[in-house]
């Protein structure tokens, strides 16, 4: 990478900002501010810095709706909000998807709106860590905070995850490199293990890389469990890994003082889905017979865990909550966004701080091309290409404050550093306005019906 001189031309430093990218929620960023814009970020990784120092060319600045020719047209806030409220109020099976890159305060209004119109509220967990949450419901959740792992862990295992690419500061700030209370020498006191079919960037810097076969996770964990329970492994190779290596690894995992397992989408996106994670958690249960082991899912967005915690607290279910019968309902394969879209059930889709256009499989996006889509976001993205109403929000953690939950469930208040562009609005304000406008339409309908 080309050398870039440090930024010296700035008016002020806003200290202790929180990064709004991945589930690490690093809360030690310093924003260098000049003329109301962030011109530099200290301590952030490549991902965090790129998000904070955004591309203003593609920033959504004004509300827009599609005209008859199918082109987006700038309108004022009232027109755009009325149009969105009209679509939501008239919908039979709306889905409100997203929420993972916005604050808990926004979700509060979203949940009320969802209850009012009988919507399905779902977040990015439905396409990433949903199976992890199912596995947690199946077999439990031996979680620890990242701080505890930093201070205690002497073996770190990443499985189906590549934090050097998706959570670049995770190793440096929370797991492997920092010096902890009981690990005074940092990296030298810890063993780093990566289990991944790919020789990923994390695998390259690990002490042990276990490159089991594609879709071999389930068999591999079962083999480790067998070894832990003192059973003989019949086959010479399990999932492409020699029997002796599995025995050796099981022995090593048994003989640590404190182990931490981090798992990512490599487990949830393959065919066995939640069964992989069931097995990984049960492997930990077996390991806990001998020593202390904990696990944490590597959550992708900074507040994806927040939505799950908030929803589970408010409604009893973590994601894919369906209000169409007037009470919260949750059923996998039934009330999840991808299933609803591929079955062509949904008739109005609102996306808040997410990008289904980029991250949904084509089969699901095809239905989005047939129904009205409302987008609340900060950047022009693939979803804008299929959106009918666009409402420009603001950037949580930089342009407005809000609460988010880190991957281990620790709530963090993200403070504001600069003012948002004048024509944009807070996500919270947009949700509240939509709620009020939809409420008004519903009240009118009720008044007409009673006559």
């Amino acid at each position: 990478m080309a050398y870039e001189p440090p930024v010296t031309d700035y008016d002020e430093i806003v200290e202790n900002g929180t990064c709004a990218f991945c589930g690490c929620n690093c809360d030690d960023l310093d924003f260098l501010v000049k003329d109301g814009h962030v011109v530099g970020v200290r301590h952030a990784c490549r991902l965090g810095a790129s998000k904070v120092m955004e591309d203003m060319d593609q920033r959504l600045m004004v509300p827009m709706i599609r005209d008859e020719t199918g082109e987006l047209m700038e309108v004022d806030w009232d027109t755009a909000l009325d149009k969105a409220a009209e679509l939501i109020a008239g919908a039979v099976r709306p889905i409100f998807y997203g929420w993972s890159e916005t604050s808990i305060e926004t979700m509060k209004h979203g949940i009320r709106l969802g209850e009012l119109v009988g919507a399905v509220l779902d977040n990015q967990a439905t396409i990433c860590h949903g199976p992890s949450l199912q596995a947690v419901q199946n077999v439990g959740y031996p979680i620890a905070t990242l701080g505890e792992i930093k201070n205690r862990a002497d073996m770190i295992v990443y499985t189906g995850s590549n934090p050097m690419n998706s959570h670049p500061r995770h190793l440096a700030r929370y797991s492997t490199f920092p010096r902890g209370w009981f690990r005074p020498r940092g990296r030298f006191d810890r063993t780093l293990v990566t289990m991944d079919p790919k020789y990923s960037d994390t695998a390259k810097m690990s002490d042990i890389w276990i490159g089991f076969e594609q879709n071999g996770d389930y068999g591999f964990y079962n083999a480790i469990r067998a070894a832990l329970r003192g059973k003989e492994i019949d086959q010479d190779y399990v999932s492409g890994i020699p029997k002796e290596d599995i025995m050796e690894l099981a022995e090593a995992m048994k003989n640590v003082q404190f182990g931490a397992l981090y798992f990512g989408l490599g487990l949830t996106h393959t065919l066995s889905k939640q069964r992989n994670i069931d097995m990984a958690i049960e492997m930990l249960a077996d390991l806990n017979e001998y020593t202390k082991w904990v696990l944490t899912p590597m959550r992708g967005h900074f507040n994806v865990n927040g939505f799950n915690i908030f929803m589970a607290f408010e409604m009893g279910f973590p994601y894919g909550v369906d209000f169409c019968r007037g009470y919260p309902r949750y059923m996998n394969g039934e009330t999840n966004t991808i299933d609803l879209l591929t079955r062509k059930e949904c008739d109005v889709f609102m996306v808040i701080a997410a990008d289904p256009g980029a991250h949904y499989p084509g089969g699901a996006v095809k239905h989005l091309a047939e129904i009205p889509v409302i987008q609340v976001d900060i950047h022009w993205g693939p979803s804008t290409e299929i959106a009918d109403v666009v409402l420009p929000g603001s950037f949580i953690g930089v342009e407005c404050a809000g609460t988010s939950y880190r991957m281990d469930g620790v709530p963090i208040y993200m403070k504001k550093a600069v003012d948002k562009p004048e024509t944009c609005r807070d996500d919270e304000w947009i949700m509240r306005e939509l709620l009020e406008r939809v409420q008004k339409i519903k009240d009118q309908e009720a008044a007409v019906a009673s006559k």
């Binding site: 120092m53 004004v62 082109e71 987006l72 439905t126 020789y199 594609q214 256009g357 022009w380």
Partner: protein, 176 residues
């Protein structure tokens, strides 16, 4: 100023066995997922730009597979699965060797060909999909053009799509 650079990969790898035949079509396994270049470009918001096409519209391939197929770095290949087909650039993988597997970073290109089957577990199958890879001359589309060509939401006549003008790298909307 750009944060995105092409990953460092070896220039050319020749087939180890000179007698091995070049093949027209390779049967491979497709993995998709996040990647630091894709993540940085997506969250910065530069999705319309050529940069995004360079980080997401690529298939990271093992150099040996590329030699078999007779493609060089940044040649275009067509990847086909049961769910669709898409044209992407072939690029030498930084994580080689992984013969028989290709990796496309998550994004609109990858998702044209991923499986929406959730098997009642809410999560689509983004990884471990069988695909075929073949050489092609078709260009890799920019994000806006790809969305228009694949999902056709605001197109009246589907047959005119190849002749339509590119939507370009900047937002297009009617200002007040």
């Amino acid at each position: 100023m750009t944060y995105i650079e092409k990953p460092v990969v070896p220039k050319v790898v020749k087939l180890e066995e000179p007698t091995a035949k070049e093949r027209k079509i390779l049967n491979m396994m497709l993995n998709t997922g996040s990647d630091i270049y894709q993540g940085a470009c997506k969250k910065r918001g530069s999705t319309l730009k050529d940069e995004y096409r360079k980080v997401c519209g690529v298939a990271y391939m093992d150099p040996k597979d590329m030699a078999k197929l007779g493609v060089a770095n940044w040649d275009t290949v067509k990847v086909t699965t049961d769910w669709g087909e898409v044209v992407v650039c072939s690029v030498h993988s930084r994580d080689a060797p992984h013969e028989g597997t290709i990796f496309i970073p998550k994004g609109p290109w990858a998702n044209v060909i991923t499986s929406h089957e959730t098997y009642c577990c809410c999560d689509p199958t983004y990884k471990g999909i069988y695909c075929t890879v073949e050489k092609t001359d078709e260009p890799v589309l920019l994000m806006a053009d790809l969305m228009r060509a694949v999902y056709k939401k605001y197109v009246d006549d589907e047959e005119t799509i190849p002749e339509l003008e590119s939507l370009g790298e900047m937002p297009v909307y009617k200002k007040k």
